[in-house]
């Protein structure tokens, strides 16, 4: 026993000494300059960038070091970026969070005229980013839709719309999304309302619809739905038949299971955009902007899109992307299928509370 303890102590001591010498321990200071280098702190999603991209940037810009960390959700990223004394410079939030951060004056203006690669995203932003059409605060990095992935051997209907999720026939085989906006959004569209509805009656009707639907639902999940769908098999009784899913997840899931198809229902769906932004509090804005511009370069955008499986906003990047991925409908849907798609708007606290109340009803049922 003593032996073990002394071994552990020795290891700990060594580590103590090493830690105090390690550069990692003091990192995070935006302006910490070692040899004239400037550090840009970049808060990304996990596994959302091709691992070769940052080294490439640092090679081309030897005066900048990118310190990348990762956040699990928009909400956690927001808390981290908004609390006093934050050292984060660049973030990658989704459109509804960008709107909130714009409202709260948290984002710095980008100088698009000096960004060489702005031209490649311009068209996409003007068509799809009503909240910031001229990329004043945000540069679209990836986008995708929120649709239905289903097993073609179990679900044989010709036309797949949201109502399939409410069909008694598939009792115990339906997978819903475990998040307030996404699930209630589906119900709102099914009822013919906007997924940004601010109307109390509409929201509570959507809640009731989900309560009625609950007995049919096998599970509410998020990324774990990928696992359940990739093992979906008509031969197994009560196997999951369909799930609501983000397109990027669908791309991967379909690679595992060739019985799966992805569809964006004609009634409309959510379209999301993740975009790079610089925080107003950053004191390395010039370097941060250089980094964002680099990320917009078509060959870099292509690398990231291929790696993450999420669609790129740049048509110019498509030529660098593998043909097989381009043919995946979830990755590269027909433009006309997007006509009815809406992005999420940031909702006020009061409206959000209506959503919460409706969702609690579903979870209590």
């Amino acid at each position: 026993m003593k032996k073990t303890i002394s071994v552990l102590l020795a290891i700990t001591l060594t580590i103590c000494i090493l830690v105090s010498c390690s550069p990692a321990s003091g990192s995070g200071n935006s302006t910490a300059a070692s040899g004239g280098q400037v550090t840009v702190n970049f808060l990304n999603w996990g596994d959302y960038i091709d691992p070769t991209v940052i080294p490439l940037f640092e090679e081309e810009n030897p005066d900048v070091k990118i310190n990348m960390t990762t956040a699990p959700s928009n909400e956690e990223m927001y808390v981290s970026a908004s609390t006093e004394g934050t050292q984060i410079d660049v973030v990658l939030p989704s459109e509804y969070m960008i709107q909130r951060m714009m409202q709260e004056n948290m984002l710095a203006e980008l100088d698009t005229s000096s960004m060489e690669n702005y031209q490649y995203v311009k068209e996409f932003a003007q068509a799809n980013c009503g909240y910031d059409p001229n990329c004043t605060y945000s540069m679209p990095y990836s986008w995708g839709t929120f649709g239905i992935i289903y097993n073609t051997e179990i679900v044989t209907e010709e036309e797949i719309g949201w109502d399939i999720l409410f069909d008694e026939k598939y009792k115990g085989q339906i997978l819903m999304y475990d998040s307030i906006r996404d699930s209630l959004g589906v119900a709102l569209i099914e009822l013919g309302y906007s997924l940004n509805s601010r109307d109390e009656a509409e929201i509570s009707a959507a809640g009731s619809l989900l309560v009625d639907q609950k007995p049919l639902v096998l599970a509410y999940g998020t990324d774990d739905l990928r696992m359940t769908m990739s093992s979906s098999d008509a031969a197994i009784p009560n196997s999951a038949a369909m799930a609501v899913m983000y397109a990027g997840d669908a791309v991967y899931t379909m690679q595992d299971n060739d019985k799966l198809e992805y569809v964006i229902p004609q009634e409309g769906a959510n379209i999301f955009v993740d975009a790079l932004c610089i925080l107003e509090t950053s004191d390395v804005k010039e370097e941060a902007q250089r980094f964002i511009d680099f990320m917009m370069r078509p060959d870099i955008a292509a690398l990231n899109a291929e790696y993450t499986g999420y669609s790129t906003p740049e048509d110019a990047a498509l030529e660098y992307i593998d043909e097989e991925i381009l043919q995946n409908y979830a990755f590269n849907p027909d433009k006309e299928d997007l006509v009815n798609c809406e992005y999420y708007e940031h909702l006020d606290q009061e409206v959000l509370k209506l959503y919460e109340a409706a969702w609690m009803q579903v979870k209590m049922a």
């Binding site: 026993m1 552990l8 290891i11 996990g46 006093e84 990324d223 991967y252």
Partner: protein
């Protein structure tokens, strides 16, 4: 027969503990990114692991924070238990109730309240604030591991040592420590484990400037966890098992007499 039954019971529980580890290692060799279906053998997750710029640093942060925080928590916690022993029951009850707080508080509440504290104290967030936070939630595990050993201890031996002229610190070192050692070791190991696996508190107390493995893994959930993490776990597992075997072989080789004296 009874002996067989006992061994069997232990084996079943151990299999229960290791079943998912087996699956985890198996899927580190899966070609697909998913853990649901086996699509073919591949080592490319291992290759990717060695090219990931974040993993090495995150692993480093994780191990060093776990060791340091467990060590410091063990020292503070053990001395706390000894020091609290003679408190009146009521006072002790209050201290223990406060000790429960980090255990029962939701991680998010701990994380955000510590973040606010660090902002208030004007401490820049990063590695060291994460360490402080980890020590905080580790101490209760040490205290509740050492506490039962302390209750069970034979007080008369300590008293005898004092009567014979030993100073309290000397008596504690020579008489108390050996008796509560199993509790201290348990506490250290549990603290290390808690720290190793923490995500939410680490995330908020570093405020996005340093990160450990858990933060990296949880933040992958949005796009799906990359199996290179499975590969990393497999490697870590093998390393620890090998270390365990080496230490064990070395200590059994030693002559019996010295071994007995150690205990």
């Amino acid at each position: 027969m009874a002996r067989f039954f006992k061994q069997f019971y232990l084996a079943i529980i151990l299999i229960f503990m290791y079943l998912p580890i087996g699956a985890l290692i198996l899927f580190s060799f899966n070609e697909s990114k998913s853990m649901a279906t086996w699509t073919g053998f591949s080592t490319h997750w291992y290759e990717q692991l060695f090219h990931d710029p974040i993993i090495a640093e995150a692993l480093w942060v994780t191990i060093s924070v776990a060791l340091l925080s467990a060590l410091i928590a063990t020292v503070i916690g053990t001395f706390a238990v000894i020091g609290m022993d003679s408190l009146r029951k009521k006072t002790k009850g209050v201290v223990l109730n406060l000790t429960y707080v980090p255990m029962v508080n939701a991680d998010i509440v701990m994380g955000i309240s510590l973040l606010l504290l660090f902002i208030f104290l004007n401490i820049p967030r990063g590695y060291w604030t994460m360490l402080l936070a980890h020590i905080t939630f580790n101490i209760p595990y040490v205290i509740f591991s050492v506490l039962p050993k302390m209750r069970q201890m034979d007080r008369s031996t300590y008293e005898a040592a004092l009567d014979m002229g030993a100073k309290p610190s000397e008596a504690v070192r020579k008489v108390v420590f050996p008796q509560i050692m199993p509790g201290i070791v348990t506490g250290f190991i549990l603290a290390f484990t808690m720290s190793f696996d923490d995500f939410m508190i680490s995330f908020f107390t570093t405020q996005g400037t340093t990160q450990n493995l858990s933060i990296y893994i949880y933040s992958m959930a949005r796009v799906g966890i990359n199996p290179m993490i499975n590969a990393l776990s497999a490697i870590m597992f093998v390393v620890v098992i090998v270390l365990l075997i080496v230490v064990n072989v070395r200590s059994t080789k030693k002559p019996k007499r010295t071994l007995q004296r150690e205990y």
